[in-house]
């Protein structure tokens, strides 16, 4: 079965590996398991998996270094798994090129959803040129890239140029968490990456334009301490 997708699981805890194997195999993925960072690097080089699920707390090396090494040449999705309290490590991993994260303990549903989102993004990134896409659809939100228009339920939303750039960036990465640093860098430029407070107020204003109830948002979700995510329905 050559067309089954191959996932490399890098995790040092056997029970978690066991449960990952069980749940991923039932979903039709092929699994490769390693428990060390070095093995992860060598196995990735020899098998070139379609995705890597990487625990940040590894016995032999820092998960962050694994990502940095891999990202020299490897472009398929990496999902990191971290314990609560490792917020900083999580953000660093995302900034270093990880695609998404899961916080222990996590449910299978959450895991599979993240895997699906990550695969979809890697497919769109490979198969289609972004410039050819003229419209992005998220639920009842439409982002028309050719005439720079955002509508919700068919109603036009008035956005400032900066807000528009933010929405486009989030919509292109729908379902994926974007860190404060990435958002600031891509929308405001590399000089502004420390102005997270600025970003927060922008997001709050944007939420007022996109959401019916900003306190219980449908689209624009906050990942506290990490960044923002536009839901992917």
């Amino acid at each position: 079965m050559k067309n089954k997708l191959l996932i490399l699981v890098v995790e040092d805890d056997p029970p978690i590996r066991k449960f990952l194997r069980a749940s991923l195999q039932t979903q039709g993925y092929r699994i490769l398991e390693v428990d060390k960072g070095r093995d992860a690097l060598s196995q990735t080089a020899s098998h070139v998996p379609d995705m890597i699920i990487l625990d940040l707390g590894l016995p032999d090396m820092d998960g962050l270094n694994v990502i940095q090494d891999l990202r020299q040449w490897y472009s398929a999705p990496i999902i990191v798994v971290s314990a609560r309290g490792q917020e900083r490590a999580k953000v660093e991993a995302l900034d270093a090129g990880a695609d998404d994260y899961l916080t222990k303990p996590f449910g299978v549903g959450e895991l599979l959803a993240r895997i699906r989102v990550a695969f979809r993004h890697s497919v769109t990134a490979h198969n289609s040129d972004n410039s050819q896409v003229s419209e992005l659809n998220i639920g009842s939100m439409r982002v028309n890239l050719s005439n720079r228009e955002v509508t919700i339920d068919g109603k036009k939303v008035h956005l400032t140029p900066t807000e528009y750039r933010l929405v486009v960036l989030l919509a292109k990465n729908a379902g994926k968490v974007l860190t404060h640093k990435i958002l600031l860098r891509d929308v405001w430029g590399p000089g502004s990456i420390t102005e997270t407070q600025y970003l927060r107020v922008f997001m709050a204003n944007l939420r007022r334009k996109l959401e019916v109830d900003p306190a219980q948002p449908r689209y624009l979700m906050t990942e506290i301490g990490v960044g923002y995510r536009l839901v992917d329905e």
């Binding site: 609560r84 600025y198 107020v201 709050a204 306190a215 219980q216 979700m221 506290i224």
Partner: protein
Amino acid sequence: MISGKERLLVCVGSAPTSERVIMTGASMAKALSADWVALHVEQTGNPQTTMMEDGRLRQHLLLAEDLGADVEVVKGKTIAEEIIRYAQEKNINRIVIGRRQYGRESFLRVSPEDTVDRLLACTLFLDIYVVPDDRENFENIEQRVTKPISQLRPATIRSSLLGLLIMAAVNILGLVFYATGFSEANIIMIFILGVLLISVIGGRWLGLAASAISVLAFNFLFTDPRFTLDVNDRQYLITFPVMLVVALVSSELTARVKHEASQSAIREQRTAILYQASQRLLRATGQSSVVTTALEHLRGLVHRSAVCYLPAVHSDKDLHRIGFGGDEAELLIDPSEVDTAHWVFKNLQPAGRGTNNSTHVAGYYIPLISQEKVLGVLGVNCESEPLDREQRSLVESVAAQLALALDRERLTREQETMRVEMEREKLQSNLLRSMSHDLRTPLTAISGAGSTLLESETKIGSKTRKELLKGILNETDWLTRLVENLLSLTRVEGGSLSVQREWEVVEEVIASVVGRLRNRSSEHKIRIDLPQEPLLAFMDASLIQQVLTNIIDNAVTYTVKGSQIVVRASNDDKAVFIEVEDNGPGIPKEAKNRVFERFFTVGAHREVDRRGMGLGLAICKSIVEAHNGKISVRDAPGGGSIFRILLPSPETQLRNSVALAVE
């Protein structure tokens, strides 16, 4: 009291000879490998010393100290007596003293007899080494040249003029008396009164001059033949000398009383300041306030800026510095100054200007020692000039007081750490006890369900199976929340370093908490009330999330299905408020004060399927207090309770950021 080492007493004065005496004393001490004391006797009746003499004395004492002597200054009437008394007291039997062949002051001295002669006369048991003076003549010339200049201070001119006025008044009054026919005795009394007054105002020298002038004036104006300095009556040959002696003695006495009075006034003032300093040091709490108080007083006493070095909190090697006295203090931040302070801290010896260690620096540094432990270093700015003997002893007494106060602070701190440590240990053991108890319940449930599923795989229906699996998930949920609470607790207990505050949008924090609790609270109605504009608060978002999670979770746990929970946020100039209101049964009055205590649970809720460790709200309190905020609970108007969190805001940043983001 008898130490094995021999001791040598070296007498030091302001005379230029003293330098040689000190050198001789030092080399003798070395040869005898003896300790030596440099003693200066400050004569209570001594004529006011000139600035030059003062300076020389200071140099001598510093020199002696540099050469390893213990410097002592005593006060007394006659030098010889004090020396003998001191030697007897300290059990010293070798004395080194300089001798002046003849001196400028010798004939003015109350006791004209030479000190050395007196010493020799008084003692049979002392070995006295006399160092002759061979530079006397040369020095004397120098003195004569310099003295008048140094004496011509404005005050002297003013008092001289006043003296002249008094003299004139006395003469006029005398003439009036004479015209009225009063006896000569009265006129003489008037003259002596004048001399007394002048001595009070102008001191010894003016008094002497006035004595002479008054005799001459009396002779000139009132004795036959008048208006000449001749006398007819032989009686006056007695009157004049007696009058002169009376005038001299009274002016001398007055001047001495005056000098002593001013000396004791200065001493009294200093004692008062020292006393005040010690009082304020007693009252001061906290290391930095103790140090600032001491430095402030030091400035009052010696008019210098000063610095204090104390060991840094987290390491024994580094010192951190507290300065006082404005810009001048900044001069002592030169690396060589700092190095000197560190050297003093390590070697427990004074250093800097006026000592024989690190003399190139501008500060004078002494260690602060209490109970043989070094607690810091005190540095005084001596850039303009070195401290004189008196100032140095003042600095030393302030240093001693400061060391005592710091020691007291250290003890208080140690006690406090011990208390906190004990409390922490108590808390930890309580925590462990209740954790092991509370963990057992969900673990039993999980392992029970797991083993049932495993062993009776085929015998149980799919419905039971599903229930058991759900039970496992619920229990792990509860365990997860417990672990998260404990994690927050360790972060808050870890102190301010682990609480990382940033400006956060309140609605994002509330939304993420409510989103996460949605599964558990699906049968409750949660409403969120927010102000129109985005509200920013300065907080550690993950910790405040924990607070809100605990409070909302409690509200869900302790109210029946279908109850309403309202989460509200608002603000004023000084703070942001987040409130969680429920319409449940409320909290009993007696429990309301205790809900934030550790291990407190409201007992009567067994029908609710969840037990609590009584940690949730206590953790909320710790977290909010780590934000300098407040947490409180009150009754809701329609029953139920309202939990309120107050987060203070450093407002300027808040305003700026909002203004920035409005495009």
